[in-house]
C-alpha cells in the first residue's frame, strides 16, 4: 500500500493517542472529518493500522510479576524451534517473545499473577529442553519507557 504524508501523520497521531476524536484528528492534519475517516478506514483495511492498544501498567497491579527471560534451546534442529514456538504461543503468561541472533535464541517477556505462578511458568519452560541464561534474565522493576509506538517519521523515508 502506498501512503502519503497525511496518512503518516494520521498514523502518528493515533499512535500518540488512539482515542482522539475524528474531528480533532482532522483539524490536526488539516483535513475535514470525512476524508480523515476514509483514510483511517483504508489504513485499517490494508492492515497498516492493525488496531488500537490500551497500555496497562503491570507495575500498578500488584502482585503481578514481570520477567524478561533469555533462553537457549538444547538443540537447534528446525523441529526444536518449531516445538518451542508452538508451546509458547499457547502459554498465556508469555506476553511477548522474540527470536534473536547472538548467544541466546529467544527473549521472552513473562507476566504472571504471583511469584509462585512465575516460578511455575519458568519450570514449565525448563521442561522444554532449554537453558535459561540467568545472567541475562531479570525481574522487571518497572517500565521506564513504556511502548507507545514507533518513530514513523524517522523510519519511513519520504
Amino acid at each position: 500500500m502506498k501512503i502519503d504524508r497525511l496518512d503518516l501523520r494520521i498514523l502518528d497521531s493515533l499512535q500518540q493517542d488512539a482515542r482522539i476524536s475524528t474531528t480533532r484528528l482532522a483539524e490536526k492534519i488539516g483535513l475535514t472529518p470525512r476524508p480523515t475517516a476514509d483514510r483511517m478506514r483504508r489504513l485499517r483495511q490494508h492492515g497498516v493500522l492493525r488496531g488500537y492498544r490500551t497500555d496497562i501498567a503491570v507495575e500498578r497491579l500488584p502482585p503481578l510479576v514481570q520477567l524478561i527471560v533469555s533462553v537457549t534451546l538444547a538443540r537447534h534442529r528446525a523441529e526444536d524451534f518449531q516445538h518451542f514456538e508452538t508451546n509458547i504461543a499457547r502459554m498465556s503468561e508469555v506476553a511477548a517473545c522474540w527470536a534473536v541472533g547472538g548467544d541466546v535464541d529467544y527473549m521472552l517477556h513473562l507476566v504472571a499473577a504471583s511469584d509462585a505462578r512465575a516460578d511455575a511458568v519458568l519450570k514449565q519452560l525448563i521442561g522444554m529442553h532449554l537453558t535459561i541464561d540467568h545472567h541475562r534474565s531479570g525481574l522487571v522493576a518497572r517500565s521506564i519507557k513504556p511502548y507507545t509506538g514507533i518513530p514513523l517519521q524517522l523510519l519511513i523515508a519520504r
Binding site: L14, Q15, S137, L139, A141, L155
Partner: protein, 158 residues
C-alpha cells in the same frame, strides 16, 4: 487501587479495542455511560491505564530492524539510573525500556532502519558518559509472539 469486575471488563474491552466508543464500552460492561466513563478516568488517574496507541504494521511501509539490547551500568546510585533514563528518553528509536534486577540493569527494544543506524545510536550512548559498563546486542530475527495485550483473565482472577 482495588479493581472490581466492572474495572476488569473495562480493561479487557479497551485492550481489545482502545478506540471503542464510550457508548459501546458502557454496553459491554453493563453499566450506563457516565459511571463507565468515571471508572475509565479513575483507571487513568491511578496510572493503570497509561494510554491508548494505534498499532502500526511498520514492516508493511518500510524495512525495519528490531534489536533487543541489555545494559549493565558501572555504578548503581540513584543519579546513575536517572542519567541513563534521561538519555534514552530522548532517543525515539528506543521504543521500549524496562528496568530489571538480576544480571542486567536495563532491557531496551530498538526499532531502526538499519544495523548502521543502531550502531550510531549505541556509540552515541557510549560516548555520552552514562556509565555503561557492558551491553549486549540481540538482533531480532523473528517476532515470534508480538505483544498484543496482557492475559487479564489469567492474571487478575476476580
Amino acid at each position: 487501587m482495588k479493581l472490581d469486575k466492572f474495572d476488569m471488563k473495562i480493561l479487557e474491552a479497551l485492550q481489545a479495542d482502545g478506540r471503542m466508543p464510550a457508548t459501546r464500552l458502557a454496553e459491554h460492561v453493563g453499566l450506563s455511560s457516565s459511571p463507565t466513563w468515571d471508572r475509565v478516568r479513575r483507571l487513568e488517574e491511578a496510572g493503570i491505564v497509561r494510554g491508548y496507541h494505534a498499532a502500526v504494521a511498520v514492516e508493511q511501509l518500510a524495512p525495519v530492524t528490531t534489536i533487543m539490547v541489555q545494559v549493565v551500568l558501572e555504578s548503581h546510585r540513584a543519579r546513575d539510573f536517572r542519567r541513563f533514563q534521561q538519555a534514552i528518553e530522548k532517543i525515539p528509536q528506543i521504543v521500549e525500556c524496562w528496568e530489571v534486577s538480576g544480571g542486567t540493569d536495563y532491557v531496551m527494544r530498538f526499532v531502526v532502519r538499519s544495523i548502521e543506524e543502531y550502531q550510531q545510536l549505541i556509540e552515541h550512548l557510549l560516548h555520552a558518559n552514562l556509565g555503561i559498563e557492558r551491553y549486549w546486542t540481540y538482533v531480532v530475527t523473528k517476532p515470534v509472539k508480538p505483544f498484543t495485550g496482557l492475559p487479564l483473565t489469567t492474571l487478575l482472577p476476580q
